[in-house]
Symmetry: C2
Subunit: 386 residues, 2 copies
């Protein structure tokens, strides 16, 4: 087996997790129905509100991100509810299926995968579906490295039609602008293993007062993802209805502390600069980012392969010879793009090591590239103040 | 904050987790779509088959036990399916609600909470509901410390009616007799934080060929708990459809090794002896187990409070002065019983320390008890060969 501690994990989640957060998992097991847990739970909820920039209720589920997104669907979507949803990749496509699974009518606004449906298209869809109940948006499409650039204006549209605004921010919350209250987001979902830089296994949701009222009055047909039940257990006893994954709670708590110590604004800026360093450097090397410029993610860098570059060989070299892990394409992009997760603890070292390994691996495969990329990134990264 | 490493965690899950298993969680993060994970996943599946004593397919979900149980419902129960279910506590009651949530008709066979509906009652229910699709059984009722003593005969009944047999063994698999293939169990569910002695956050299910065929032909309306999707991803790529909680996989893998090293039979015997030591010692101290003798769990010891014993005071003393954590009653048994989790790594030290603390705490509360309990347990525990 490989020496796993040599890996630089640059996939779009799970990301590298700091020693400090990893060690927090070994905190001894406690009784999850005792004050030891209540103190932890309360802290974690309050700190979660900080990184979501919200005063809304917080739900913490022991599940992967997809489970969190499913919870955001089954607690709000009821039979024949019309839901408007931009679709430009695997995760938005899955989300529209989940909406249909829940009995809803998914009004899909499609675009090419390298861009994002415009806000005008969304408005148009509401104009044609005035009774639409909600707009579900995947803020950052992990599968294509695209990002919705009009999320700050989404509530202007939804509020006009009295619709809910639900945002899947699994792969960018804490690494991208996302002031939940300012942007009037009813449900916002993220997971621990992306920009938060904790291990996978928890999903976190914020729920607005209005969404909460709906859920309490129309409880969902699920026990495990039952948000009203989570709210009730918190309000009555500061407990979770089901056994929480305690080690993951301790780790998430530590990761939250690290975010607050760094400062959320600094962290978001760091993600922006690192992603820009990646895009500029890769372009100078002659690689083409998959996403169009105005749709580029700040946490997931999807890059087109050059002619003659084999996905398996390239990523194999990166992993085997340089211990740098990047991801392949997803769904119909398999073999056509590779993806870098530039999130979580990402910093100068991560960017420079990844770029130098990419450059070297490309050379080893006989691909001619301009070698200035690393210096360009280095220059760009100088604006990081920490 | 208390020094958490001083706790002896004797609640009915999560249990104490050994240093070795805790440390496994700090294994560096890997790519969950790489051979590093595939090797792990395959091993974990094969070892899971050993502790389930089955050749059936295994599903490993990042979720608490309740999520695993919900998966066993939503993948099998369809609208108007009649499901027979013995109900004698909180968890079997919840399970019957989950069946109804899924559109099924729950045919509840109730009994008092200190016993278990008889197999004759189950047969009778099938006689009156010949078209029943399945029998769902909670093998070990964590809320009442009761255990079904006819599970080995359940398939004789279900096979007569062509019904599926589904077993919730969340709180006793790996600590009690449960040969899945020998007993013809179609779906068996457990979770990591009970008798397996790993941290909470994974649920494990075995799925028979017949149940698998049904699910593939009638896929459920859930994405996160979609068993056919898990089967497909395993068969095609030895991967999970959604990001698995890697630290919990590493920990579970280590816990499986420890079970296999001990020997499953030895482990089951150890649980039996430890539970008997608890029952005999507590009875000699004048405490009355809540469950009737033939319905007593081998992993969860529920005990009636004596007159004048206050739940909060008693468990508070145990926790504060002796750092021994036991659980209170659940639902309608709140304040009437306390519960000891005698599972996982439970051994002489755990039993004797717990009993001595109980004895001392009772004395401190002015409760007269016969003090021979510890010696009686000591004697009983001599038959442990390790």
């Amino acid at each position: 087996m490989n020496n796993l501690s040599e890996y630089l994990v640059m996939i779009p989640g799970p990301t590298n997790v700091s020693h400090r957060v990893m060690q927090a998992m070994t905190t001894p097991i406690i009784n999850h129905r005792s004050d030891d847990f209540r103190v932890l739970y309360k802290q974690v909820r309050e700190k979660s509100q900080k990184i979501f920039q919200t005063e809304n209720d917080m739900i913490i589920l022991t599940t992967s991100g997809t489970g969190g997104v499913e919870a955001a669907v089954v607690n709000l979507v009821r039979k024949n509810d019309k839901i408007i949803i931009p679709v430009n990749g695997e995760f938005s496509s899955r989300l529209s299926t989940m909406i249909e699974n829940a009995g809803g009518i998914a009004v899909r606004i499609n675009s090419n995968y390298d861009e994002v449906p415009s806000i005008e298209k969304i408005e148009e869809a509401f104009e044609h579906n005035k009774d639409a109940k909600a707009l579900y948006v995947v803020y950052n499409e992990t599968s294509t490295g695209t990002r919705v650039d009009w999320l700050n204006k989404a509530a202007d549209v939804t509020s006009k039609y009295g619709a809910y605004l639900v945002v899947d921010a699994v792969s960018n919350l804490a690494g991208d602008d996302l002031p939940v209250d300012k942007w009037n987001i009813d449900i916002c979902i993220t997971a621990t293993q992306k920009a938060i830089a904790a291990p996978p296994g928890l999903a976190i949701l914020s729920v607005s007062k209005r969404a909460k009222e709906f859920m309490i009055n129309n409880p969902p047909n699920t026990l495990y993802f039952n948000i009203p039940r989570f709210l009730k257990y918190y309000e009555q006893n500061t407990e979770t209805p089901f056994t929480p994954s305690l080690p993951l709670f301790f780790a998430y708590n530590e990761a939250l502390d690290m975010i607050i110590e760094e400062g959320l604004e600094n962290r978001i800026k760091r993600h922006k600069i690192c992603s820009e360093a990646f895009y500029e450097a890769l372009e100078s090397m002659g690689f083409k980012p998959f996403a169009k410029p105005n749709a580029r993610s700040r946490t997931v860098i999807a890059v087109n392969y050059k002619d003659g570059m084999d996905d398996k060989k390239f990523r194999g070299l990166l992993s085997k010879e340089f211990r740098v892990l990047v991801a392949g394409g997803f769904g119909e992009l398999k073999g056509k793009v590779w993806r870098i997760g530039s999130m979580g603890d990402v910093n100068r070292y991560h960017v420079l090591r990844t770029l130098s390994a990419i450059s070297a691996a490309a050379h080893m495969l006989g691909i001619r590239i301009d070698n200035d990329g690393v210096s360009i990134a280095d220059e760009k990264l100088k604006s990081l103040n920490h």
